[in-house]
Symmetry: C2
Subunit: 261 residues, 2 copies
DNA sequence: GAGCGGGTTCAGTATTGCCGAACGGTGTTT
DNA sequence: AAACACCGTTCGGCAATACTGAACCCGCTC
């Protein structure tokens, strides 16, 4: 573990949360190093365009190379590449926006976003992060994680984003059992009031979960009694097709193994 | 300049170009360090989710945190945030896709992409990089750079992407003079055969160029005698409005200063 | 089953990055 | 208007830290 690199990464995290950029002094005390140390790290990151310095204020912000690398990540991402076609198909079939996400530490990262067919202006959510326990994508993934990983995530803090957010591990354990039973996960206003989601897990050729795909939209439209079941079936089917694209074996076998682990 | 961080950044660059991921040995010899050194760096980057290791092959790929950071870069990017509304307006006005880009080292980085109104399937180009001398955005920016920076870029290698790419510095110097004269830059099949672009520079409150905005599309439609001039005017006007949003002074003054430098 | 290539671990060395103190600039306060 | 406070930056020396070479373990190939 090389210390200076770890600190450099911390700096990137700090700059990512500081909307207006941060100065050397602020960065130094946030990551707990001397000012010259932070300065040297920042200069190095700047040389690589990972951070940029405002010529006026002297403050540092994130740099353009991060966008390039983020894009390179997407293009080399197996799940993302394969999902593009399936996500568009699903969006057209169910008439809702479709997200594809992966688990990154304790939150879900949206790696693809297919807009709903005749939708008006919609914000592109690729790159957005959501606490795993507040979205359907996250529950779909975590439900099929190895026992140890799942337990670790349940032990960690579970912040509440809305009044409906499940913050009790026991409630989430129940949710996750439900996911393994039905093959899909549901979220109802747990991340943002009025928004809902339905998602199913995606597996690779080793049988491990690599991500999830699902529909998102307003609670009224998505979880309506009449449409809900059909939507769940469509999402689950798409997830299976996508899994097979990634080389996963027969779904039944795989799910069995995952549930037993 | 901290060595290990610089090497870590090199590793990210290497992994970004190696589509299928790269192993420790390959990384080590590409950046010219011993195998254990590369390993330690990779492990540290992995801890920060900047790279991920394939559980099967042991090879390393870029990690999800890069997408998050790239997204954070976009959200904190002044030009990008302000340009969203203007780019959509321009796209509707001219009926073509609109790109907003910044200069990153020797290439242009697309930070926003507004689709053309009734367009069919289009690929999202945010995060894409293009050599500066092969696109209108790049020429618009470089034409208004300080003399020293511009000269440095002209001295660097100018790879040819198509038969129409300008690879002679003298030809580009002429192009850039034209840009300063007319207030907009044109590109005709210099990056990809059949594609063209028209772009104008965007300035901030200090009078420095921070990026460019422009329309892209097929040569036939974009550079048609009848539409071309109107398009150029629309692009230039939008760029000025955007500049004013960023606090730039009167365009005439600013352009005078930029041309004189 | 021996050989190869891959990722990984370990211990020693000196290179390297870290820190305290000080500098020059800007904006603010008194 | 002068003094202050704050910030980004530079410098030099100490020692902590990161690099290297050799060795280890695994899976694959021949």
């Amino acid at each position: 573990m090389v210390q200076s690199v770890a600190r450099a990464i911390e700096i990137l995290r700090v700059l990512g949360t500081a909307a207006r950029g941060a100065g050397v002094t602020e960065v130094a005390e946030r990551i707990g190093v001397a000012k010259p140390t932070a300065h040297a790290l920042l200069r190095t990151l700047e040389a690589g365009q990972l951070v940029a310095q405002d010529h006026e204020t002297g403050k540092y912000r994130l740099g353009p190379a991060l966008l390039e690398l983020g894009n390179a990540y997407l293009e080399t991402h197996e799940l993302r590449v394969r999902s593009v076609a399936w996500a568009d198909g699903l969006a057209n079939r169910v008439g809702e926006a479709v997200w594809v996400g992966v688990l990154s530490a304790d939150h879900v990262l949206v790696v693809h976003h297919a807009f709903r067919p005749e939708g008006a202006v919609q914000i592109l959510e690729v790159g957005a992060v959501i606490p795993w326990h507040t979205c359907a994508l996250g529950k779909a993934i975590v439900a099929h994680l190895p026992e140890a990983d799942r337990a670790a995530l349940l032990r960690a803090p579970l912040p509440a984003l809305t009044g409906a957010t499940r913050t009790e591990p026991s409630a989430l354990v129940q949710d996750l059992e439900g996911v393994r039973g039905t093959g899909y996960a549901v979220e109802e206003g747990e991340a943002a009031i009025g928004d809902a989601g339905i998602a199913a897990p995606v597996f690779d050729h080793t049988g491990e979960v690599v991500g999830a795909i699902g529909a998102v939209g307003p609670v009224e439209r998505l979880l309506d009694e009449q449409t809900r079941d059909g939507l769940a079936v469509a999402v689950r089917e798409t997830a299976r097709h996508l899994s097979r694209d990634l080389g996963a074996g027969r779904p039944s076998t795989r799910r069995w193994v995952a549930a037993a682990s």
